[in-house]
């Protein structure tokens, strides 16, 4: 079965942490806590799902996102 292209359509209207069908709730929560904008990521999981690793590497990469508001 062909894997769908990871098309995370840019939806700038939504705040980071909003509903992103392509990430599971704990990962969305992690992203929110770390200040990672899921809409800026491309999912590497099956069917383009944004994984925990995608989020973590977005933090370690010099990201434009501000530090986690804790």
């Amino acid at each position: 079965e062909p894997v769908a292209a990871p098309v995370a359509a840019p939806a700038p209207v939504q705040a980071p942490g909003g509903y992103v069908p392509l990430a599971k709730p704990p990962v969305r929560k992690l992203a929110k806590d770390l200040g990672v904008d899921l809409y800026a990521l491309t999912g590497s999981g099956p069917d383009g799902v944004i994984t925990r690793e995608d989020v973590e590497s977005a933090v370690s990469a010099p990201a434009p996102a501000a530090a986690a508001p804790s």
């Binding site: 942490g17 909003g18 509903y19 069908p21 599971k24 709730p25 704990p26 969305r28 929560k29 929110k32 806590d33 804790s70």
Partner: protein, 457 residues
């Protein structure tokens, strides 16, 4: 004064908040002194959560025996052996107490017995001995409050006495329709007492979503638990044979006992806090969201900190402070994410916001109620109630309130959904096990996601 004992952490009070902090700190390699004047485990283990829930389970067993014929079981209830109930309850408590003492030992926490006084800046004195901590945690908990002019004694009791009665009152009045009040009302009713609850606010469990109050009131009415809401207590007089309670509306209630369950006050006086300069407001120790008091390296956790007075909040705050001190920079606790369970029959369980609170916060809210009439397992249990979900507009589910027997066990799932900010679309595809009560939660999420399965219009 003798020489001082030094430690990374000195904790004043060995209840839920204090001991959780001690264990976690010890795990993280800190040296810990835990000062407790009474028994490790505090209110929750010895005079709170555990003994009340043992009574509530005995109450459930009694109800089952009384109502067996509804299920085809020829059972009968000859009565309650209150000494037997107490020894069952005490057995549970003492087994858990033993376990807890073992954990303190295993964690190498230094337990100091005695009443401690905080003398600042970093020092606690117990029986003349000084314990100096790089950090100090205040965790002295709470006590049962009364109303002005209403003295506890004789037939006027608090939960402390109610837990250890050697008789079942024939007639009892419960002052306060909050968690502790409705739990005792529920127990006594199951044990055969004539019970009346008096609540000044307009509804039972007033801290919960109104839906819960309505459901609970309906169920209590059916059980024959009387209640007067929206009416103030004015006084009580004791005689040899009873206690007479008067209300603002002129009503007079006669009873064998009056249980005063009007809330718990912070136990912050007499331990040197204010004298040492700790900021106190109406008796509560004031902290920031990282549980720091106004004094450097002095923290507070549990019931003395304003907010929910719950054992697992104490655990969570205790763990938080230990990790904070150890430099782990833990995430600030979301108070609304702490699950709340009232263990009466039927139970009430909630997490997140009530409908009213959500509307205030978000301007509007989407609401869905799933009635337990559609839930097979609840029908089997012959319980009624429902699951109410509150969703932020274009946002995740921000509140769950449930009523029904045993729904307290569904709050674990609801807590994850709330805390991970799940959308109905996340939960809906995960069809729940049939036939369980968890299905009611699952069905509610299916419906909110626009794909109801067993939902009656």
């Amino acid at each position: 004064m003798e020489s001082a004992t030094n430690a990374d952490l000195v904790i004043l009070g060995g209840g839920s908040g204090g001991y959780a902090c001690a264990f976690r700190a010890a795990e993280l390699g800190l040296s810990v002194v835990l000062v407790e004047k009474d028994k490790l485990g505090g209110t929750c283990l010895h005079r709170g959560c555990i003994p009340t829930k043992a009574l509530l389970h005995a109450a459930e067993v009694a109800d089952n025996a009384r109502e067996g014929d509804q299920f085809g079981v020829k059972s009968s209830l000859e009565g309650i052996d209150i000494a037997g109930v107490n020894s069952y309850k005490d057995g549970v408590v003492s087994r858990l107490y033993k376990g807890l003492q073992g954990l303190a030992k295993a964690n190498k926490v230094t337990l100091v017995e005695g009443a401690g006084t905080f003398v600042g800046p970093n020092t606690v004195v117990v029986n003349g001995q000084r314990y100096v901590g790089k950090n100090v945690v205040l965790a002295t908990g709470s006590y049962a409050r009364s109303l002005p002019g209403l003295e506890i004694g004789g037939r006027v009791i608090t939960s402390d006495q109610a837990l250890n009665l050697d008789f079942i009152p024939e007639k009892v009045v419960v002052l306060g329709g909050g968690v502790i009040g409705v739990e005792f009302a529920s127990v006594w009713r199951s044990f055969g007492s004539d019970v009346t609850i008096v609540e000044a606010l307009p509804r039972l469990v007033p801290a919960e979503d109104e839906y819960a109050s309505k459901q609970l009131e309906r169920a209590f009415r059916k059980r024959g638990i009387k209640f007067k809401t929206g009416v103030k207590f004015t006084g009580a007089t004791q005689t040899d044979s009873g206690v007479s309670i008067t209300l603002e509306n002129g009503d007079v209630l006669d009873a064998d006992l009056l249980l005063v369950a009007v809330g718990r006050g912070p136990n912050s006086a007499g331990h040197g806090y204010e004298e040492a300069g700790v900021q106190i407001d109406r008796g509560f120790v004031i902290t920031d969201e990282r549980l720091r008091t106004n004094l450097p390296n002095v923290y507070a956790v549990g019931d003395i900190v304003p907010g929910l007075q719950l054992a697992h909040r104490g655990f969570q705050q205790g763990i938080f402070v230990a990790e904070e001190i150890a430099g782990q920079n833990p995430k600030v606790i979301d108070e609304a994410g702490i699950p709340r369970v009232t263990y009466c029959k039927p139970e009430v369980a909630s997490v997140g916001l009530s409908e009213a609170a959500a509307k205030e916060k978000y301007g509007s809210a989407e609401v869905f109620i799933y009635d337990l009439a559609g839930n097979g397992k609840s029908q089997i249990l012959k319980t009624t109630g429902g699951v109410k979900l509150i969703k932020a507009p274009d946002g995740p589910v921000v509140g769950v309130t449930m009523v029904g027997e045993r729904v307290g066990e569904l709050i674990g799932e609801a807590q994850l959904i709330y805390s991970w900010e799940a959308y109905p679309e996340d939960v809906a595809p995960l069809i729940h096990a049939h036939p369980t009560q968890t299905e009611a939660l699952g069905e509610a999420f299916l419906a909110l996601a626009g794909k109801p399965l067993h939902v009656h219009g």
